[in-house]
């Protein structure tokens, strides 16, 4: 993350607390991809992940006036909301049949040939990921998909650096074994 990322984000959050629509939009576009992937890794459904993501950010707008900054990245708060909405989703909604990963639309930057390769790789990865625990999934996503540092990941997950190191080691070990078999 850029050096001024978090200070800039504090300003955005402050503006969003006062109903600044531009700040709300900026926060949404910053965090929507990570939240979507977090949700998608767990529901394996494009539409469901999008719907839940809509609820997560609506909750963000409603609750941000009461948001109290406690040193953790703003994303940590959003992941907490996403987790709560995910629990609700699993509790009340009928689990939909897992949508094929090949139906997930990528960002459209891949050429058809590369997209075929991507889909093959991601399918294999998706299968391997499904064997991970929820914590391992989160560490894997935050560290290697979203690009958070060890410290940020530790803050978001409320764990120590050592715990994150151990989690990511076990998660990558499990993935490696699945992918090499």
């Amino acid at each position: 993350m850029p050096a001024n990322y978090y200070s800039d984000e504090k300003t955005l959050v402050q503006r969003a607390r006062h109903g600044d629509a531009d700040a709300v939009a900026e926060l949404y576009y910053r965090h929507a991809p990570a939240i979507f992937r977090y949700l998608y890794f767990r529901v394996n459904d494009q539409t469901a992940a999008e719907d839940i993501m809509g609820e997560v950010f609506l909750e963000m707008v409603k609750a941000v006036p009461r948001y109290a900054e406690r040193g953790a990245p703003f994303a940590a708060w959003l992941f907490q909301i996403a987790h709560s909405r995910l629990v609700d989703h699993h509790r009340y909604a009928a689990r939909r049949e897992t949508e094929a990963l090949s139906d997930v639309i990528a960002d459209g930057t891949l050429d058809p040939e590369a997209e075929v390769v991507w889909r093959a790789e991601t399918r294999q990865l998706a299968e391997a990921l499904s064997a991970l625990t929820d914590e391992q999934k989160t560490v894997i996503q935050l560290r290697f998909v979203e690009g958070y540092s060890l410290e940020d990941t530790a803050q978001i997950m409320g764990k120590t650096r050592g715990a994150i190191k151990a989690l990511q080691h076990r998660a990558l070990q499990s993935l490696a074994r699945k992918l090499t078999t």
Partner: protein
């Protein structure tokens, strides 16, 4: 290096472009799974392409902006004051009104009355919030109230002994507290507060004497103690004024210029003047420093002994002090020496108080005529000389008082009826 640390180290080096996966794995032959782990981590980056559909993103964004706008436009409209808050506010207002009414109504209550406890509690609260500099005056006011209550109660046919005891104790306590708090008052106000205490203790002794005559036997002792304590407080107040005068003398210069200042509108009451000749002091009533307090006392003129109110019988065993500058209440002989040793040079002080009715010609007479209490042995009836014309001759050091002490009747408020 543990496997976890080796993995993290390699991830950082690859991220920084310092090494490839193969190079890093080659460095750790003891970790056969490291290369596969690093490849899995790299493969996961492909998932960054995973994203929500554009139309879904725009739909969500539009919903969020709408919500943000609604929260911005009507922040107050969404927080109506609940009816409960109004109810609480009304109840509090009603309680406040009732409390304020009770406090106001309690002002004239007497011991035994339903609101008397409210009155005393209110006084305690007021005292708590009174700054130390104002506490002497406030204690004096409280003593006045207790005395007024005592005065009102003795007019009744029968007064409960416990009520009398409580009131007289409170009277003594407040008076002594006032005296003790004088030191915290601003220096320029201390003499004024002390004079007020002298005046009030004079009244106290008058009323306590009356109370003593009608009090139940079981309350007699307490009334007597209050009477003695009042006299002590009065003497102490007078002594403190003398000390203040002495300090003023120490700083004042006994030059003619300073005497001129005495006659100026802004002169101090306690300005020191040269002492009169010793021959005069022997047979002439000599005002002293305490005479400065006379300008607030009813009659400083020496009067025939027959005009004095008899000393309370219970106190007649105490020697009446010789003529002195300050009223020494019955039972306060031990204070006499101090008082009579005071300088006798405060004619200027007394002369300086001519604006209060005392002539500059020394017509205030004997130095023992300092009491405001008609019952006091030091009380003297006013004379016509008290109303000396304002065009009286200017003050002259060593001037001998020449006015003839002439009894003059006083009105109800203690002011002389005589005209110049």
């Amino acid at each position: 290096m543990t496997p976890e640390e080796a993995l993290e180290h390699c991830l950082e080096e690859i991220e920084a472009g310092q090494k490839t996966i193969a190079e890093c794995a080659a460095q750790h032959p003891d970790l056969p799974e490291l290369e596969a782990q690093l490849k899995a981590a790299q493969a996961l980056r492909a998932w960054q392409a995973l994203t929500a559909r554009l139309e879904a993103s725009r739909r969500i964004e539009a919903r969020l902006l709408q919500q943000a706008q609604s929260q911005r436009v009507a922040p107050r409209a969404q927080r109506p004051v609940p009816a409960l808050r109004w109810a609480v506010a009304l109840i509090l207002a009603a309680l406040l009104l009732v409390s304020a009414g009770a406090v106001a109504a309690s002002a004239n209550s007497l011991p035994g009355g339903s609101l008397y406890s409210v009155k005393r509690t209110t006084e305690s609260v007021q005292l708590f919030f009174t700054p130390p500099s104002g506490r002497a005056a406030f204690h004096t006011t409280l003593a006045q109230r207790r005395l007024d209550e005592l005065s009102a109660l003795v007019e009744r046919e029968s007064v409960d002994a416990s009520v009398l005891t409580d009131l007289t104790t409170a009277l003594t306590t407040e008076t002594q507290a006032a005296l003790a708090a004088v030191k915290d008052a601003p220096p320029q106000q201390q003499a004024e507060v002390l004079e007020s205490i002298i005046r009030e203790t004079g009244k106290q002794q008058t009323i306590l004497q009356t109370v003593k005559e009608s009090a139940p036997p079981e309350a007699q002792g307490e009334v007597l103690r209050a009477l003695e304590a009042s006299g002590e407080s009065q003497a102490l107040a007078a002594e403190r004024i003398e000390e203040i005068n002495s300090q003023a003398q120490a700083t004042a210069s006994p030059t003619p210029a300073s005497h001129g200042a005495v006659n100026s509108p802004t002169r101090g009451r306690h300005t020191q003047a040269p002492p009169p000749p010793a021959t005069q002091a022997a047979d002439t009533p000599t005002p002293t420093a305490a005479g400065s307090t006379l300008d607030i006392l009813p009659s400083p003129t020496q009067s025939p002994a027959s005009t004095r109110t008899p000393v309370p019988a219970a106190l007649t065993d105490t020697p009446i002090p010789p003529p002195a500058s300050t009223q020494i209440p019955p039972g306060q002989a031990k204070k006499t020496a101090t008082v009579t040793d005071l300088p006798t040079s405060t004619q200027s002080a007394a002369g300086g108080s001519s604006e209060n009715g005392h002539g500059q010609n020394g017509s205030f007479g004997g130095s023992n005529c300092t009491a405001s209490n008609p019952n006091s042995p030091n009380y003297c009836t006013p004379t016509a000389a008290l109303s000396a014309p304002t065009d009286a001759p200017p003050f002259t050091p060593n001037a001998v008082p020449t006015a003839t002490p002439t009894p003059c009747p006083t009105n109800a408020s203690g002011k002389p009826k005589c005209k110049p």
